[in-house]
């Protein structure tokens, strides 16, 4: 099956608030599909409709070819889910959680290798309450992998984690994809979506405002790139005029910033370095700044991501 998730015209209303409004998308087998957007954009509502935890007000949802409302139990046998707000009893130990949850599936994988794979081996006898945020999330990933799922849902997986723990979790998510599984995740970190996801749907006020691969989204924005570097004593007038030939150039003391539009053919940074090398200019602290998904969001909605 190529299309693991198919959503058509999904709508969910809470009272007077339209949480999800006419959302349609597909998730392909073997990809990491990300749904990004600010808090309250409708990400969790969407994922919970896919998981069968909420009933859509309109639209059709198919997950692994199943209707989550009608075949919820079968779907839960074949998918792994990590929820944004969930917990285990404080005094339940790591191994006990895996052992108990295994008993809920018809054909669970052996949980012992999962412990090692997720780096929880030495936390095996630790009670849930004593785990760090990152360890709890790794345990939840392990629980989500117990049914040997075709599809794994990860809702706001790294919220509240420090950067180091976040990077470790990203590696684990890539491992899941490497095993041929499909990952559907939500996040409000644009950086996470950009670095982790094969395709990204940007959600705002319950609607999908863009859906593509991160490079295509960024390229589509047509945002300018910047190359900045420092020249001891400041750039000579000759260098300045040569740089102006590449792109708009600003000089602040010894710091030089060259702006340029990516045109797909030439790379701004290689042009600048080529020029500096040709003129034998000694430079340091060279940095390039390219547009990110953060800028894409700003460009599409006119707003910064609320965090």
């Amino acid at each position: 099956m190529d299309k693991v998730v198919q959503v058509e015209g999904l709508r969910k209303v809470y009272g007077a608030t339209v949480a999800v409004d006419d959302v349609s998308f597909e998730v392909h087998e073997g990809e990491i599909f990300g749904m990004v957007g600010p808090n309250g954009a409708g990400k969790t509502t969407t994922i919970e409709c896919l998981e069968g935890l909420r009933t859509p007000d309109a639209g059709t949802v198919r997950v692994l070819g199943l209707d989550p409302q009608r075949n919820g139990k079968l779907l839960r046998e074949r998918t792994g889910m990590q929820l944004q707000q969930s917990a285990l009893p404080d005094r339940m130990r790591v191994w006990e959680a895996l052992d108990t949850y295994s008993s809920y599936y018809a054909k669970p994988v052996d949980w012992k290798p999962l412990l090692a794979q997720l780096g929880l081996e030495e936390k095996r006898p630790a009670p849930f309450a004593k785990l760090s945020g990152g360890q709890k999330q790794r345990l939840f990933i392990a629980l989500a992998l117990l049914p040997d799922p075709q599809l794994v849902f990860l809702d706001e997986l790294t919220t509240g984690l420090d950067p180091q723990a976040r990077h470790a979790i990203w590696d684990l998510v890539r491992d899941i994809r490497a095993k041929g599984k499909t990952v559907f995740l939500t996040t409000h970190f644009m950086e996470e979506a950009e670095r982790l996801c094969d395709r990204v749907a940007i959600l705002d006020h319950g609607r999908i405002v863009a859906l593509d691969t991160p490079p295509n989204l960024i390229h589509g924005l047509g945002a300018e790139e910047r190359v900045a570097f420092t020249v001891a004593g400041g750039p000579s007038p000759a260098l300045q005029s040569a740089l102006s030939g590449i792109g708009r150039t600003e000089v602040q003391g010894e710091r030089v910033v060259v702006h340029g539009k990516p045109d797909g053919e030439t790379q701004l940074v290689s042009e600048v370095i080529g020029l500096l090398t040709a003129q034998r200019v000694v430079f340091r602290d060279l940095r390039t700044e390219q547009a990110t998904l953060e800028d894409v969001f700003l460009g599409l909605t006119g707003r910064q991501l609320r965090d």
Partner: protein, 248 residues
């Protein structure tokens, strides 16, 4: 079935690791037995119609175990599991809701039984408490009373919004019942107004039923007690099934 067995075993371990549950169901009634024993000993006393005090204290304390278990561990566990998202996590697995509830019933019943056996063992060994009833009959009364009180616990946990409110409601029901149901004092000696209040307390019927069965009464002498508890059980099952929610 494997899921139920594993869950019940896990819940039993969690029950014993939770100091509150383990203390109040297993140790607290035993403490009262020794306090009563120290106060009065187990000699015939006129205020108990010539009966020996601890002979009636043991079935009363068994009733107290039932009240405590239904209103503390059952209520608090379910309310906590919902508020903290533990039920939400369970809901993402194929496990059925009845398995989650059945595991609680099994474990809390087993723990109440353990509390009862400790009490009977201590009463028999230390104070030579006499038992004149039919063991199966007492067990039947114990099962009926326990299930009725678990029903109250599930109703509270299902219908109150937070753990704190469930705790307050449980305590507000439990404390007056412990003192006014006859579990501690014979209600016959209390003023009429108090006896009227006592008649509205479910635990009063548990105390009457178990004390009677313990002393050798036939069930036919306790139709009212049994009827009230069966009625409570039915209401408990209906309301708690309707009120059950996976999340708050």
């Amino acid at each position: 079935m494997r899921g139920l067995a594993k869950t019940a075993w896990m819940e039993a371990k969690l029950f014993l690791r939770e100091p509150m549950s383990a203390f109040f169901t297993l140790i607290f009634p035993l403490m009262y037995l020794f306090i009563f024993g120290a106060i009065s000993g187990n000699e015939p006393a006129p205020q108990y119609g010539g009966q020996r005090m601890l002979d009636t204290a043991v079935p009363s304390l068994i009733a107290m175990i039932i009240g405590i278990t239904g209103l503390m561990p059952v209520t608090m566990t379910m309310a906590t599991y919902r508020e903290r998202g533990i039920l939400r996590r369970l809901r993402t697995t194929p496990v059925a809701s009845w398995v989650v509830l059945a595991a609680q019933v099994i474990v809390n019943f087993a723990m109440s039984c353990a509390g009862m056996l400790l009490l009977i063992a201590a009463g028999t060994l230390v104070y030579h408490v006499r038992f004149e009833g039919n063991a199966l009959s007492v067990l039947g009364g114990f099962i009926l009373s326990s299930l009725s009180f678990f029903g109250i616990g599930f109703m509270l946990a299902g219908s109150l919004p937070t753990v704190r409110s469930a705790w307050v409601a449980g305590m507000a029901l439990l404390y007056p019942m412990m003192f006014l149901s006859g579990a501690f004092f014979t209600v016959d000696l209390l003023p009429k107004a108090v006896r009227t209040i006592s008649a509205f307390m479910p635990l009063t019927y548990v105390v009457n039923l178990l004390r009677g069965l313990w002393a050798g009464d036939a069930w036919s002498k306790h139709v009212l007690d049994a009827g009230v508890l069966v009625g409570l059980l039915v209401v408990g099952v209906v309301v708690s099934t309707k009120a059950f929610r996976w999340e708050s």
